[in-house]
Symmetry: C2
Subunit: 339 residues, 2 copies
């Protein structure tokens, strides 16, 4: 069954997101302050433990089931020469995921995470969004629902990645629709286009902004009109995670652009999500800044697939091992700080 | 037996460091370029794989035995009020390491690393280096040798951490001796001193610089005179790693200051080392910049113990899993970039 039959159902879900568990967060913070280390000296590892407590609703968060979902989609806009790779690479990479040969297969294993790959009608590209909505309402709701349904309700942490030749252009268009600016401000090299390719990408974004105009003011409409199926699915999965007490790690520019409409649709809508990394794709840093998110890693990566999110999992695991396993000053008989 | 009986033996070892294996590095770089991803899109993970190949001397580096060594030392200079914690915390934390209750115990487990803790005469503090050399030659050579001997010759990667109340002051003095500047430029909050404590730390460093004067120009003499036993041991371990084809991950300010004399004593002396992170301790960023090292992580940590180095291990593991496990474009039947 489809999670969302109508846009109203989806809008209603966005308007009634559960809050974090402040009691669990407070208990976690209090525990951090008595562990055998100077207060605050584990830096962002302490923040991560508290974040996980708040959004799992447990003072001692667990990390038994980590899920990585990679959604794949095909983009009509590829006919405008926005990628360094031919459109058929999307399907070829899905086959590579299935065979275990892609980066994300290795990274998921190293993160002790379960990998799911979900292709979304990749033999049927979305419309070229410079001259039509990428998806109509039914197609959009179907992709959002596929993402929503894909999330295991008992996951302890969810990483969201994607594959789709052409999707950094779609993401630039979504980001521009949500936060303003022109194509030039949001496009980047993607898989490795040259300067002329960058110019084409910027023009395509500007054409899309002009074509759809005011109708992009609604964040869900922006995602449907200039996004793509894998972006819509990431949005749906981010929403499902929030509804089920599952913290999220976003990946790069595409993953972040896909989830961003939730922050626009609801105040604090992405509070349950961490930014796994900041990618080398030019618009990502700008987008994270608009979302007030501080990335955990900055390793110059620009691959997508969920690669940066997956790398951050072991930081979360380390943070939670410290949180649960360290002795307190009292337990260890270590002298406290001098007055 | 002691690895180094005389300063001449130690100086000779520093003057004859083995070079990296450029053939292995070149083969690793060539492999990275045919894996199923846009070239360069794994960013620093690609650099890490090539670094490990160069310094392990294997085109496909392995990571079966990861060693974390924490050296602990006691500092006479603590009597000058340079720490927020009493000097006895060094021994208490060594007991906490043995009982498994410290951060590094949890982090080593999460990194699948073996943890060794090596206390160096912690019931016998070094001399107060504002009025005498912290260590005489015999004491210094003994600590360097202890570090050198501690390294398992079959390790695939070595993380170097420390514990020693007062040692951020010693590290600031070593850094100032090696790279110039006054106490104020190199001291930080350490375990959490207040502004008055920072001022005392800076004064102590300046007193040491004035007392030892020109004798600090020799990098090994600087380490002996204003360092500490755990710093000398980290120096010895870093040297042993280089001699045995073992890449190193340095931790924070203390770990980096301890290894830094090797870069001064020999050109490229730290080329086999990665900076695991940049800590919140003020001088660390400055020190890494002098050493031309780009840290892998920046998480606002300031704990020491090898914590930041240990966190970086899973990045290395992930990099090597990608390097060894990914399919090439030809193997996966994925189309190459368009011309």
């Amino acid at each position: 069954m489809t999670a969302f039959q109508t846009l109203k159902e989806l809008n209603d879900a966005c308007a009634s997101l559960p809050a974090g568990d402040e009691a669990a967060a407070k208990a976690a913070a209090a525990r951090q302050d008595v562990l055998t280390k100077p207060q605050g000296s584990l830096g962002r590892l302490e923040e991560i433990a508290i974040h996980m407590a708040r959004w799992q609703g447990r003072a001692t968060p667990k990390l038994e089931k980590v899920e990585v979902i990679v959604f794949a989609g095909s983009h009509g806009v590829t006919r405008r020469g926005v990628s360094a790779y031919p459109a058929e690479v999307t399907a070829q990479m899905v086959a590579n995921f299935a065979a275990g040969g892609a980066a994300i297969n290795q990274l998921a294993r190293a993160a002790k995470a379960e990998l799911k790959v979900i292709p979304l009608d990749i033999d049927r590209p979305t419309a070229d969004f410079t001259e039509a909505p990428a998806m109509d309402d039914a197609d959009f709701l179907s992709a959002v629902s596929a993402g929503h349904d894909a999330v295991a309700r008992n996951a302890d942490l969810l990483c969201l990645g994607e594959m789709g030749i052409g999707n950094t252009t779609a993401s630039a268009a979504v980001a521009a629709a949500l936060f303003g600016g022109t194509g030039t401000e949001w496009v980047g090299r993607g898989t490795g286009v040259d300067v002329a390719g960058m110019k084409r990408k910027a023009e395509v974004v500007d054409m899309a902004l002009a074509f759809h105009g005011e109708r992009l003011r609604d964040p869900l409409a922006a995602l449907a009109r200039v996004g793509g199926r894998e972006l819509a699915a990431i949005f749906g999965a981010t929403l499902a995670a929030r509804q089920n007490g599952i913290p999220v790690i976003l990946d790069g520019f595409v993953s972040t652009a896909a989830a961003a409409p939730l922050a626009k649709a609801a105040k604090g809508g992405l509070d349950h999500a961490l930014a796994g990394h900041v990618s080398a794709e030019a618009g990502h840093k700008r987008l994270l800044s608009h979302l007030d998110m501080e990335p955990l890693l900055a390793l110059g990566m620009r691959l997508g697939e969920g690669s940066g999110a997956c790398l951050a999992v072991n930081l979360v695991r380390s943070a939670l091992e410290c949180h649960a396993g360290m002795a307190s000053f009292a337990e260890a008989g270590v002298s406290a700080k001098e007055a």
